[in-house]
């Protein structure tokens, strides 16, 4: 059914749930593949750099946020590729999705930021509006 799945994550509770759904979709068809994309927000770059001693630690810290997701994928024997991008999360995910040839994009309904809980997932909203492929928003 869906062979090329793009899973956009930010390490939040919601992205764990979307990972679960992505795995279900992955298992429902033969030789499906999941691309996991994580966007390091421009606006958090200063914080990230200040709080990491060097490049390696910075990389490791970002990776650590996604460990539970990678573990879920591994435990379920999902073939997946990991992409770390930089930018404004919404537009960056959209650009990445539209550049690739994806059958489906899976994303959590809202992310990590407390503020966004009030505005209701501005990232997922943007992605739904602007991505060319079907989008699966997981609540």
């Amino acid at each position: 059914m869906y062979k090329n799945i793009l899973l956009a994550v930010d390490g939040s509770e919601h992205s764990l749930r979307s990972t679960e759904e992505a795995i279900k979709l992955h298992d429902s068809s033969d030789d499906a593949h999941i691309d996991v994309v994580y966007v390091a927000d421009y606006d958090k770059a200063k914080y990230d750099v200040l709080h990491a001693h060097d490049k390696e630690e910075l990389e490791a810290k970002r990776r650590k946020k996604l460990l539970p997701i990678e573990k879920m994928l591994k435990d379920n024997n999902v073939t997946h590729t990991y992409h770390l991008l930089h930018g404004d999360p919404g537009p960056t995910i959209v650009a990445f999705a539209n550049k690739g040839n994806y059958d489906l994009l899976v994303i959590g309904s809202r992310g990590l930021s407390k503020f966004q809980k009030m505005v209701l997932g501005s990232v997922s909203h943007k992605v739904v509006k602007q991505a060319n492929c079907p989008v699966f928003v997981v609540k």
Binding site: K46, Y47, V49, L50, H51, K55, L58, H86, G87
Partner: protein
């Protein structure tokens, strides 16, 4: 070489030109406000932002990074300007540039590694606090309308980007509120009250100071402080730009570029500057990636000064205050509160001490130096604790030594043993320890000899190769007549 140059300049023309224009628009209010912080005419900051942006775009090591007049530097120079005037500031700017160039040539950038995170976090927080407090005289207790304008500015700055990010929100605040202020008569202070804006290109001038050692004595302390702070902020910004653009940069070349930029700036009537975190992020966000972006920012800034000089002096002060409050909020590391809770106590103390010293002295460089010294002391204190664990069975006592045994830690080493036991076999396991010097070997001697006095059999075990060599060379405990005093 040529193709690499071409790529660095013209690899992203459309994005760079657009982002350069956006940055130039965002630079104007900040350059003016930082001039006011430094106590000089707005032109001094505007010229500085022009020349620094241009020179660093050509000679810097980090393409797409934006440099110009900054708050960190402005705060440092205020006392010099107050006591001696603008010409001494220009001379100090040139000397700052020379020092920074030498630092770059000596490859000092790698020393940045030795500045602990806690100090850097303290640095940005102190900077944020100082920028904020520098604004207080411009808006507290002036008039009700002043408060109103500050608040409206902040609302525009924080709400507008939710709808559009095409034009920098601070600029919209300036245009709208300056227009309102011109048509309504609110009796607000303006930029014009604080200095002149001339619609001229900067020209080459030699600062009018006596060329004596006395002059050098006055400006050198400022120049050293400016060099350190400028490089610190520039290299931090370069690391951030490296990260968000996923590319590498040459930090030593950047130090030399910053140096050249300040030398040129001093000769063209501008104040010393450095890289700007906020503006660089705006540049990358707006699509800037190559050298052309900062070059266009500088050129377009100059064009705006020439075209809009008359309007600039009408900008109401409260609007600039609002923009500076935004800069201060953006500079502060809001993750610090979590950091204070989670980081080791010593790091938290270093961070707070750095902030405290800067706020007290108004000198960022002193805070950084104090922070570095304090972390060195904490480091020694931390590694000078040697842990000795013990396990006793019927006829064998084992001591496990963990840590670095050296002159500062021998006390905690020797205190870890029970010297009252008699007729025992005692193993001292050094598997997780390292013996560093004569004092450490002496301490081992002392322990072994004391224990043997009570007819115990003492064995040293698992010394690593280096420690073993040192012990064999220096230790005397196997000499039956030895007393520790022989060392």
């Amino acid at each position: 070489m040529m193709t690499q140059m071409k790529e660095q300049w013209f690899g992203n023309v459309k994005g760079d030109v657009l982002s350069g224009i956006v940055v130039a628009l965002a630079l104007i209010p900040e350059a003016i406000a930082f001039s006011i912080i430094a106590g000089v005419d707005p032109m001094v900051g505007l010229y500085a932002s022009f020349t620094i942006a241009i020179v660093t775009s050509i000679f810097g090591g980090r393409p797409a990074m934006i440099s110009g007049a900054t708050g960190a530097m402005a705060l440092l120079m205020l006392p010099l300007v107050k006591d001696y005037g603008l010409d001494y500031l220009l001379a100090a700017t040139i000397v700052t540039g020379i020092i920074q160039y030498i630092f770059g040539a000596l490859k000092v950038a790698r020393l940045m590694k030795f500045i602990p995170r806690a100090v850097m976090i303290g640095f940005v927080n102190a900077l944020a606090i100082l920028i904020f407090t520098s604004q207080i005289p411009h808006f507290i207790g002036i008039s009700t309308m002043t408060y109103v304008f500050v608040i409206i500015t902040l609302i525009i700055i924080y709400v507008l980007p939710r709808f559009t990010t095409a034009i920098p929100a601070p600029l919209v605040a300036i245009v709208v509120l300056t227009a309102i202020a011109i048509f309504g008569d609110y009796n607000l202070g303006t930029v014009g009250d604080l200095g002149e804006v001339t619609r001229q290109l900067p020209s080459f001038i030699i600062p009018n100071v006596p060329f004596t050692f006395e002059t050098l004595g006055i400006i050198l302390p400022y120049a050293i402080a400016l060099s350190i702070v400028g490089l610190l902020e520039s290299l931090l910004t370069a690391t951030i730009v490296d990260d968000i653009t996923d590319t590498e940069s040459n930090k030593n070349k950047e130090s030399r570029g910053q140096g050249l930029a300040n030398v040129v700036t001093g000769f063209f009537g501008g104040m010393a500057g450095c890289a700007m975190i906020g503006q660089s992020i705006i540049n990358v966000k707006s699509g800037g990636r190559k050298r052309l972006s900062s070059f266009v920012a500088g050129i377009f800034l100059m064009f705006l000064i020439l075209a809009l000089g008359n309007v600039v002096i009408q900008i109401p002060m409260p609007v600039l205050v609002g923009i500076m409050i935004m800069v201060s909020i953006g500079t502060f590391d809001w993750g610090s509160f979590k950091y204070l809770k989670n980081a080791p106590k010593s790091d938290a103390i270093i961070m707070l001490a750095t902030v405290g010293i800067v706020v007290y002295t108004h000198d960022l460089s002193q805070g950084v130096l104090a922070g570095v010294v304090l972390s060195a002391i904490f480091f020694v204190a931390k590694i000078s604790i040697v842990k000795v664990d013990t396990k006793t069975t019927a006829d064998l006592t084992t001591y496990w030594v963990r840590g670095q045994v050296f002159f500062a830690s021998v006390d905690s080493f020797t205190q870890g043993f029970d010297y009252s036991v008699e007729n025992q076999i005692i193993d001292i396991d050094f598997n997780e320890a390292h013996i560093w010097d004569d004092s450490a070997v002496f301490a081992i001697d002392k322990v072994v000899i004391k224990l043997r006095k009570n007819h115990n059999t003492v064995n040293l075990k698992n010394l690593n190769t280096q420690s073993q060599e040192l012990v064999e060379k220096l230790a005397i405990f196997d000499d039956p007549n030895a007393k520790p005093a022989a060392h």
